[in-house]
Amino acid sequence: MNITQLPFIKEIYGFLGQDLVAAVIGILIILVFVPLNSAFLVWVERKVAGHIQLRPGPMEVGPHGILQTLIDAVKLMSKEMITPKLADKFLFWLAPIIIIIPAIVCFVVIPFSPLMQVREMNVGILLIFSFSSLTVLSILMAGWASNNKYALIGAVRAVAQNVAYEIPLLLSTMSIIIMTNSFKMSEITAAQSPVWFIVYQPVAAIIFFISTTAETNRAPFDLVEAESELVSGFHTEYTGMRFALFFLAEYTNMFIAASMGAVLFFGGWHGPFFPGLIWFVAKVYILIFVIIWVRWTFPRLRFDQLMNFAWKVMIPVALLNLMITAIVLKVL
């Protein structure tokens, strides 16, 4: 059944025009999807971690512990939100709000299937990059406002790390963009209907994957919240629902990073037999599984190793890859 044929929806359509209704429905779906997705991903993470370490992971709440994270969310919501005495009260309050907004905004341009995209934009990829860069601002805000040495060290590391890894991330994306001549997510997806871009651009794909892992502050690049040295980094002082928002943002950013990877290198919604939505979601979750798998395999990098790797390996290789792509495109 077409949702637009419902009498109630039809009336709103006539009153406001189709655009606004699409936006409202899209945002509602996103707001429901984001927390559920995070709860599911936390469960997957704990399960994968468990099985890699020959443990079962959460088992008690629901079948195989699938409801565990929902219960945890309820617990976090009922907890007291403590603000430290010497914290910057306003920034401390603002930081978790600022970290969740870009995570939600980025969903607007993600093409789940040929029809399921909240808003088509000419600058879809730029929008995702610019909004996900706001995450680091919020981390710095949280770390600074907490008035805690561990939080501040974590935040400073986050800034240095994100500045370093944004460059190879953008360079590897650039080599895709000069192949497609478009910033539109849907056009980039449409351009890889016979062959996925990972076949043409394997080096860019690897660089993109490593950089997004670093951008989302995931292990082995999780120096921002290195719990063995910094308690838990920038959100050391956060409790209750504010802490939950940071957690939510981390897993939502993972989803966005993985869906960017799926769109840029794995053909987005393209695939045989099944509808586009299923292919897209399957690709995204496989990429997320790889991110989790990497986290539970490798130890954390030291800070100088992290920086050396970014500036001495990632950026030169990404530049070289971009140059070769440009020359090959010019010659062909």
């Binding site: 890699i52 020959l54 443990r55 079962p56 088992m59 990497v294 395999t297």
Partner: protein, 152 residues
């Protein structure tokens, strides 16, 4: 070292590094499908090995249909934590003493096993009890003689 061999070293480092990372990921991927070693405790229980050291208990001997404790008090004196209390009695004057009451305060026991080693009648041993929950400090006092009577 010339610049060319420097470059060669740089490329080799990236390649060998990537290879070792892939090997590591292979190891963890295999682990994903290995059987789990954790025992889900209330649903599955392990049988303790013979040399598991729980709190002490008296051994049942068939010849006396009871323990061999003579209430000599060696275990009381050797205990570094002063955990053991023994009371013995004689059936008649000049007869043999035997242990009638034997209590340990398990909350203070350090499980050193000196009492088991020192016992001249070899009537003490370690139990295989590990499910111990106390709601008060006095619940930790274990009546060894009653345990012997109530043994399965």
């Amino acid at each position: 070292m010339g610049p060319l061999s420097e470059f060669k070293k740089y490329v080799l480092e990236i390649l060998t590094g990537s290879k070792s990372l892939l090997i590591g990921m292979g190891i963890t991927f295999k682990r994903l499908f290995m059987p789990i070693v954790t025992v889900q405790y209330p649903r599955r229980k392990l049988t303790m090995t013979q040399n598991f050291r729980g709190h002490i208990e008296a051994i049942y001997f068939d010849d006396t249909k009871s323990h061999h404790c003579v209430a000599c008090g060696l275990c009381v004196r050797t205990c570094p934590s002063h955990v053991i209390k023994v009371q013995g009695e004689k059936e008649k004057a000049g007869g043999l003493k035997y242990g009638q009451k034997y209590f340990i305060d398990f909350t203070k026991c350090s499980l050193c096993g000196l009492c088991v080693d020192v016992c001249p009648e070899k009537t003490l041993t370690f139990s295989h009890e590990y499910e111990l929950v106390y709601l008060s400090r006095w619940d930790g006092v274990i009546d060894i003689m009653r345990r012997l009577e109530e043994r399965p």
